[in-house]
């Protein structure tokens, strides 16, 4: 019983990480039709900026309020990079899908190379509060606090995103734009502002994933964003492009399948099962769990 609880909660921790990356990716694709392969870079920037801030930013550190400040700095850095990417590189390329893919893939590779050139290719220990290294006993299972932190953060982000989409003017524009972008402009709305906003939201969530992923794994490395991005894409496709709620459901399914199959089967089999699940969803329900609707 304890093992099942532990696998469930660590699976949900992984799901939380996937959700934080996938939710922004899904909104960006749903609204702007941009397949952003550079999304993993926002995660990397968030992780490295948090790591750097903990050691160098006055007031920031690896514990208490200092750690919160370091994470805020990391999220702000990820958001800023996402906004700059949208304004400088993506905006001139809307409706030019192939060029978008080339630019975002190139940026992703260049971003990883830049992180490697600056801080080296080896994983570095991530500064984190002591309590995140400890475990909490839940129904007989000793669950790592870092995973619980990720779950709590993902639930808060999900709630905040849904409230934003449901109750704000920009949320309404995004939900409508995911359905029919052209018609939003035909109502007199400059939809490009919403594009920048979803990039900012996606960048912030991915950067938060980078910071909290550093806490969860205990290290930060240049390629972390790229490897997580693959599973985030799978989550987006299974959940349905443009649906935050769909991404949440899909992240839970993917995280749990990976964790359980890897434990009870062979290590690595969980990843293969997730790809199999993706194939099944594409065959039976190509629009994903929630289709192309920015669910509020």
């Amino acid at each position: 019983m304890g093992t099942v609880i532990l696998l469930t909660l660590t699976g949900l921790g992984l799901a939380a990480l996937y959700f934080l990356v996938a939710s922004g990716l899904s909104l960006v694709f749903g609204l702007a039709d941009v397949l952003n392969f550079a999304h993993g870079l926002f995660l990397g920037v968030g992780a490295y900026a948090t790591w750097w801030a903990a050691g160098n930013l006055p007031g920031a550190g690896g514990d208490g309020f200092g750690f919160v400040l370091a994470v805020v700095f990391g999220v702000a850095a990820g958001t800023l990079v996402a906004v700059l990417v949208e304004l400088v590189l993506i905006r001139p390329l809307y409706s030019r899908t192939i060029e978008q893919v080339l630019v975002t893939v190139g940026l992703s590779l260049a971003g990883v190379a830049l992180l490697q050139a600056t801080w080296g290719a080896d994983a570095r220990p991530f500064p984190r509060p002591d309590w995140t290294r400890q475990v909490t006993g839940i129904l007989g299972a000793q669950v790592p606090n870092g995973g619980l932190l990720l779950i709590i953060a993902a639930v808060l982000v999900l709630g905040a995103l849904l409230a934003f989409l449901r109750w704000t003017r920009y949320g309404l524009v995004i939900r409508a734009g995911v359905e029919n972008r052209e018609m939003v402009t035909a109502l007199g709305i400059d939809v490009r502002k919403a594009f920048t906003l979803v990039f900012a939201i996606g960048g912030a969530a991915a950067a938060l994933a980078g910071a909290l992923g550093g806490v969860y794994f205990g290290t930060v490395s240049p390629g972390q964003g790229s490897s997580l991005l693959i599973f985030a894409f799978i989550v987006v496709v299974i959940g349905g492009m443009g649906s935050v709620v769909g991404s949440a459901y899909a992240a839970v399914v993917v995280g749990l399948v990976q964790q359980f199959v890897n434990y009870y089967g062979t290590s690595g089999l969980g990843d293969i099962c997730v790809v199999g699940l993706l194939a099944v969803v594409l065959l039976l329900r190509p629009q994903g769990i929630a289709g192309k609707v920015a669910t509020a």
Partner: protein, 260 residues
């Protein structure tokens, strides 16, 4: 003679190698309804979309489009709409996942008081169904929502594309009545296949054929000329009935195929 509200000169649109409009020129009067007619695929919808700046990015638009003294070409759609160009697209395009109230709220503009009173006076049902998802409305209700959304703001010109397409005869009559009332306060450029509706609403007509203007003039005159309607639109004027309240006339429409 009063100045036209819209002046289209030598409008050419090429999309994916297809030369859909080949030098179209016409004007829209500052009052009443001007109808854009023609067989399927002649470029009626393409014309409206070019005016409102919705030609696909891969398309090429040339010519001159002026609303009053203002040139419309190369201006982004949202600016044209904010400048008073209201657009109701073919197939309604309501946001199915949003409620009726949210669809209307989306059309609100900062600093402008939305004319909910006017919209709900024309379409009381929209007020009653505010919390209903737009995707669950009937075709007629969706059309009313699409028109109501545009009427929330003041417009200098309305572009309305096939508002009666796919609607039941009784609903066609209701929509025609509403458009008649709307046209009392704002000029309308209407694309419409239903000739009974055209006869009821339109004062001026522009007929397109093969990407060019084939005829312009008085709409009723056109519909009385059997030879003209047969040659330009493929239907005889004798088939045209006038929709009126309480009746459900048999309404001929120009045979439909895929439109541009």
């Amino acid at each position: 003679m009063t100045e036209p509200i819209l002046n289209v000169e030598e409008l050419s649109v090429r999309i994916s190698g297809l030369h859909i409009l080949q030098g179209v020129s016409f004007t829209v009067a500052p009052t009443g309804v001007t109808v854009l007619l023609g067989r399927n695929g002649v470029g009626k919808t393409t014309t409206l979309r070019a005016i409102v700046g919705l030609t696909p990015p891969a398309g090429e638009v040339r010519g001159t489009i002026r609303m009053g003294a203002q040139s419309l070409l190369a201006r982004p759609t949202h600016r044209l709409v904010r400048g008073g160009l209201g657009y109701v697209p073919e197939d309604r395009c309501v946001f199915a996942g949003l409620t009726v109230a949210e669809n209307l709220r989306l059309a609100e503009r900062r600093g402008v008081t939305p004319a909910y009173d006017k919209v709900f006076a024309l379409f009381p049902e929209l007020d009653r169904r505010g919390r209903q998802r737009a995707g669950s409305l009937s075709g007629g209700q969706q059309q009313m929502l699409a028109i109501g959304r545009v009427l929330l703001n003041d417009n200098r010109l309305l572009l309305i594309d096939e508002p009666t397409k796919g609607l039941a005869p009784k609903v066609v009559t209701e929509v025609a009545e509403v458009l008649e009332r709307v046209a009392e306060s704002v000029p309308v450029l209407l694309v419409e296949q239903n000739l009974a509706v055209v006869r009821r609403l339109a004062r001026d007509a522009v007929v397109l054929a093969a990407g060019k203007v084939a005829w312009t003039g008085d709409a009723r005159e056109l519909l009385l000329e059997t030879g003209l309607t047969r040659s330009l639109l493929g239907v005889g004027s004798a088939e045209v009935a006038v929709p009126s309240a309480g009746s459900a006339p048999a309404i001929p429409a120009v045979a439909r195929k895929d439109q541009h």
